[in-house]
Symmetry: C2
Subunit: 240 residues, 2 copies
DNA sequence: ACTTTCGGTGCACAGATGTTCACCGAACTC
DNA sequence: GAGTTCGGTGAACATCTGTGCACCGAAAGT
């Protein structure tokens, strides 16, 4: 059944349900309160882990009664998984915009970091959620996030393989570097989330450091197994 | 130690403390139950975040009654901060042993990763604690861990400054690379913690990837501003 | 041998939590 | 227009939580 009426997007960040949407089809209203539940959970993650969220409190600040919660999810875990899905949907959207603007690669590093930072600001709560729950708390959510990130890293490896100076790299090495890049980006996102919003100096410092990190990694790439032979020989790497 | 649940609702005259060393000075026994509380908390972090730990449950599995908890900490937060301190004490101990064995630096990477892995196994619960609570949950604990890690990164920067090929680096750049190294190590530790113990193949893979990451970073170092002036060496990433 | 200190106990309380159940009324189906 | 679906309600439950209080008994101090 298509026929979805598209009303205005969402009701802003207000934590209470405020006034009831006057006119809406039933499934549309259901979708709205479902979104309100997700939003309420995201907001309450400011000073608590997902595992310490209470169903009642989430329902309350979403504007419904505790038992109404079960009309949408059959427990907090399912709500959490929905949050993972939603968060990574916006993340993939970020990747798309990153791929879109990659005409020249002279400043690919700067551009990537800038896109990352912009999306962290635009979807702060989503990033905070995955940053917070990535390593912590409820196992099922941790697993889900880890799977998404791994998948994500694999996609980046495929992208990297297309680049000229990486075209002859082994799959294992490609995945290594993509993993390193992803982890670096994750660290950067976490740093930005921790730095308080409204302090542009601190954020610029983070961005600066992130760009340097990525540049350092990029500088290592041409030196990777320069002779095609094995072996590490860290000290052996010489300048051109 | 005694993680067993005391099923009976009202304990009669059963000595709940299990067996304790019969002879001990009072302050020594206090230290012991304090340690039991810390241990109990660490163990219960397996499938929950620190924020969802309950004072009662921790006290129970430590073998004391809930109110007895307050003889040692005045709340779970303080217990958490004690855990942070304890955990980083063992971490610094690791660093010392890392510094001890650095005779030759041909395989400094391999040696570092190996030390990291060994300590993760030896102090699994401590590492799991800081990995879990690093980004999540209770703000006060998160801050404490972040401060420790930042301090830690600074110390590493000082160490790096002593190395010949890094001696002329600026403080900012040194801190950048130390931060990158620390984050990489943290990621490696998290990966090892996630991989189940007893699967040596998976772990070898993680170690292998970690060594490659560090090598790639190391290979970038000699290329870092080779002429001392602007102009990043590889055409990879300069821009305005 | 006395007094003090203090880690640990037991009880009690008010509040919060997840989940059940029967019920309502407006939106949907026919 | 009659009947059904279904998102939301409110009361009730058993259970768990953190914390205050008075008390105990043995170790420590004198």
């Amino acid at each position: 059944m298509s026929a979805e009426i598209r009303a205005i997007g969402h009701n802003g960040l207000m934590n209470s349900r405020a006034v009831i949407p006057p006119r809406a089809t039933r499934s549309e209203r259901k979708r709205q309160t479902r979104e309100a539940l997700l939003e309420a959970a995201l907001e309450q993650l400011e000073d608590r882990g997902f595992g310490s969220l209470s169903l009642r409190e989430v329902a309350r600040s979403a504007g419904i009664v505790p038992t109404g919660f079960y009309r949408h999810f059959d427990g907090m875990d399912e709500l959490g998984l929905a949050l993972v899905e939603e968060s990574f949907r916006t993340l993939r959207q970020m990747i798309r915009s990153a791929r879109a603007g990659r005409t020249d690669m002279t400043n690919v590093i700067r551009a990537s970091v800038e896109i990352l930072v912009r999306h962290v600001h635009e979807h702060r709560l989503h990033f905070r959620f995955i940053a917070r729950e990535r390593s912590s708390g409820v196992p099922v959510i941790r697993r889900a996030i880890h799977n998404e990130i791994r998948l994500f890293s694999s996609e980046l490896a495929v992208d990297l393989a297309r680049m000229p100076f990486l075209s002859d790299w082994s799959g294992e090495d490609l995945h290594m570097v993509s993993g390193l890049l992803v982890d670096t980006m994750v660290s950067t996102a976490e740093a930005i989330l921790d730095a308080d919003p409204g302090d542009p100096a601190a954020e610029r410092e983070i961005v600066r450091a992130a760009e340097k990190r990525l540049l350092l990694i990029a500088l290592g790439v041409p030196q990777w197994r320069p002779a095609g032979r094995e072996s590490a020989a860290a000290g052996a790497a010489t300048a051109t």
